[in-house]
């Protein structure tokens, strides 16, 4: 199988699904680019990170819609289109920008079905780039998914590799509920083997990335490759871990995590979000309620600190969870203290 990047995998999924289902449309800022430009080059961008490249020439302006900078209206329009027969895939360029369109997620998309007594169908996907590692500073580096995971009515997908990204995105577009699809910007160029054709990965099924005996490590997004490095390194020492990537935080595959924790008795949760009301806390609390009697040590969360994301290389490197911090947490939980 060919190795392709997560960026390519997502782009492939968009092509595949737009080809298969004429109701799928894509909208967002510069999803093609070039409109109103002086070069006449109609697809001048294909998304600022190139995720939507090739869609405009293939599917045309009716289905690949460049918008003004108006995120509330982008998400709102996706909501309205979804309610009326289309299957929109909207792009919010950076997840941090949910600030300017939160209402359409929090109070609209998430709640239509419930408020309307089960009669609404809102099959939409909002894609957004999240996470640190590119020195993009406080307003372009946040994870944001803890906030969206907290909102009943939304589904939240956070792939950690190209293979998962493609399969999860195809599932997302075919799903009849509103799905927020997070793409970690530092993973876009990571490559792995990805089948050419169509395949889906169900929501709410964690990936068991590594299997082991001593500790359960749960990690998300870019923390997964970091954790793989640590877990593999420790395996050489004879310390083996279950490494679980939930892949979707809403729904969350509680059972896989609990089963593992019941076996290992030790849990480390790794995420690059700040600590308060986070996905790491959420998973830790879940285990502290549902696997308590199997726990042999405190549940440790490895997260960013309770600060905004800093700019300078040295600062951001110190801010993000590192392999060293993950390793230290695993050793600590093993020590039982």
């Amino acid at each position: 199988m060919p190795k392709i990047s997560m960026r390519q995998a997502i782009n492939d999924a968009l092509h595949l699904e737009m080809e298969r289902d004429p109701r799928v449309i894509v909208l967002g800022e510069d999803v093609s680019g070039g409109a109103g430009g002086t070069s006449g080059e109609r697809e001048a961008a294909g998304g600022v990170f190139g995720l939507t490249k090739g869609l405009l020439p293939r599917f045309g302006e009716d289905r690949v819609i460049d918008t003004p900078i108006s995120e509330s209206c982008i998400v709102g329009a996706a909501n309205g289109a979804a309610l009326t027969g289309l299957r929109p895939v909207a792009e919010i360029m950076f997840a941090d920008f949910v600030g300017v369109c939160m209402d359409q997620l929090l109070n609209q998309a998430a709640k239509f079905r419930y408020m309307f007594g089960g009669k609404a169908r809102t099959p939409l996907v909002i894609r957004m780039t999240c996470g640190g590692g590119m020195n993009a500073a406080a307003q372009h580096s946040q994870t944001i998914y803890p906030i969206l995971t907290s909102i009943p009515g939304l589904k939240v997908v956070i792939p950690s590799n190209a293979y998962d990204a493609k399969g999860l995105l195809l599932t997302a577009i075919r799903d009849d509920d509103p799905v927020i699809f997070f793409e970690h910007k530092s993973l876009y160029m990571d490559e792995c083997e990805v089948p050419d054709g169509d395949y889906t990965i169900p929501f709410g099924e964690a990936a068991m990335v590594r299997e082991g005996e001593h500790v359960t490590v749960v990690a998300l997004a870019r923390m997964v490759p970091l954790a793989i490095g640590v877990v593999d390194k420790l395996a050489a020492e004879g310390i083996t871990c279950d490494l679980i990537d939930p892949r979707t935080t809403s729904p969350l595959d509680e059972e896989s995590i609990l089963e593992s924790v019941r076996a290992t008795g030790r849990l480390v949760v790794v995420d690059e979000s700040p600590p308060r009301c986070s996905v790491a806390a959420d998973i830790a609390a879940m285990a502290a309620e549902k696997a308590f009697h199997h726990l042999k040590a405190p549940i440790i969360q490895v997260t960013a600190p309770h600060t905004p994301v800093p700019f300078a290389r040295e600062l951001e490197a110190a801010y993000l969870p590192s392999p060293e911090k993950i390793e230290a947490a695993i050793r600590k939980v093993l020590s039982g203290r």
């Binding site: 109701r23 449309i25 909208l27 009716d62 289905r63 819609i65 918008t67 003004p68 108006s70 509330s72 209206c73 998400v75 709102g76 329009a77 996706a78 909501n79 309205g80 289109a81 979804a82 309610l83 009326t84 027969g85 289309l86 929109p88 209402d103 359409q104 109070n107 609209q108 239509f112 079905r113 419930y114 408020m115 309307f116 007594g117 089960g118 009669k119 609404a120 169908r121 009943p152 009515g153 589904k155 799903d175 009849d176 509920d177 709410g204 729904p251």
Partner: protein, 322 residues
């Protein structure tokens, strides 16, 4: 203006239904049977009905916190609505939404909306659907004078023009947003000119006169259905009740409502117009009124008697699958 007898009668029936529905809720709410926040539309009937008389189930509308009138005009089941407002299990939204969230997607009614300015961006999406799926439909949003200042509404206007979608923005200026007057909150004091500045035509209507709104909407749909892009309708009107049920209306001159009820009642104006021009006999209108009163009576009776939802209902309808 071409409008048949049947249509006039239907329009009158709709307007009376809204009026009677609201007057009845205003009374019943004091008895404690209705929970939550309720915003009544009575007084603005000519706008909702003048607009919706041009629409079919293929067309969509999205409403506001003050949604009953738009819902009825768009064809939502009145008994289902009443049950919803009473929080009943067989209400239009199973008692989960209530007054502020009545929707009926089969009727193209995309919901009342408790967030001021929430609707117009959503309607832009419905207009995109109409364009992409070539339904021939238009998407209509209703917004008040207060909502007209919300950023989301401006964004929606600009984006609708950019995308040239069949989207009609209806601005109902009833003079107030909650306790604040229009002339204070709209800096330019001129919603029409501000809207035109976004690059779309605005059709002005007399919000007390069904025929005026009907004519403006005729022009609007003619334009938008034929690919002319978005446009707006602007109508001044009034609400006969407070902002919400319970509002002491201290901001309003003491005699304002009485005067408006006497001089600017869209039902009276309609009746006068059609009877004076011999378009409809007064007896037909009387008959409609009687029928509507019966309907509302029945709606309340059924709503009061209907079963309440159960604790198990809390957990359903969050997702289609999870």
């Amino acid at each position: 203006m071409q409008i048949s007898r049947e249509q006039m009668l239907r329009a009158y029936r709709q307007m009376v239904t809204i009026r009677e529905f609201e007057e009845r809720i205003h009374v019943d709410i004091q008895r404690g049977g209705i929970a939550g926040f309720t915003h009544l539309y009575a007084g603005q009937e000519a706008v909702a009905v003048g607009v919706c008389e041009h629409l079919t189930d293929t067309d969509t509308i999205i409403s506001t916190h003050r949604g009953h009138g738009h819902c009825i005009a768009k064809g939502c089941d009145v008994i289902g609505m009443m049950k919803e407002i009473y929080g009943r299990q067989d209400g239009l939204c199973k008692g989960k939404g209530g007054s502020m969230h009545i929707a009926d997607l089969d009727r193209g009614m995309l919901g009342a909306n408790g967030i001021v300015g929430g609707g117009p961006p959503i309607a832009v999406g419905a207009a995109i659907s109409a364009k992409v799926l070539k339904t021939g439909g238009v998407a209509v949003s209703f917004s008040g004078d207060g909502a007209s200042n919300q950023g989301t509404v401006f964004e929606a206007m600009n984006m609708a023009v950019v995308l040239k979608v069949p989207k009609i923005f209806v601005f109902e200026n009833n003079g107030y947003s909650e306790h604040t007057g229009f002339s204070y909150a709209v800096g330019s004091k001129d919603i029409v000119r501000r809207t035109e500045g976004f690059g779309m035509p605005v059709f002005k209507a007399d919000g007390y006169d069904f025929f005026s709104v009907y004519e403006a909407m005729r022009q609007a749909t003619e334009l938008s259905r034929q690919g002319g892009g978005p446009c707006a309708i602007y109508a001044e009107c009034t609400r006969f009740f407070g902002h919400f049920e319970g509002d002491p209306q201290l901001y309003r001159a003491k005699d304002e409502v009485a005067r408006l009820r006497a001089e600017n009642d869209s039902l009276k104006i309609f009746r006068q117009r059609v009877t004076e021009a011999n378009l409809l006999p007064g007896g037909d209108l009387d008959q409609v009124e009687g029928e509507v009163r019966d309907l509302i009576d029945r709606a309340v009776r059924e709503a009061v008697a209907a079963p309440a939802p159960t604790a198990a209902d809390v957990l359903t309808d969050v997702y289609i699958s999870y």
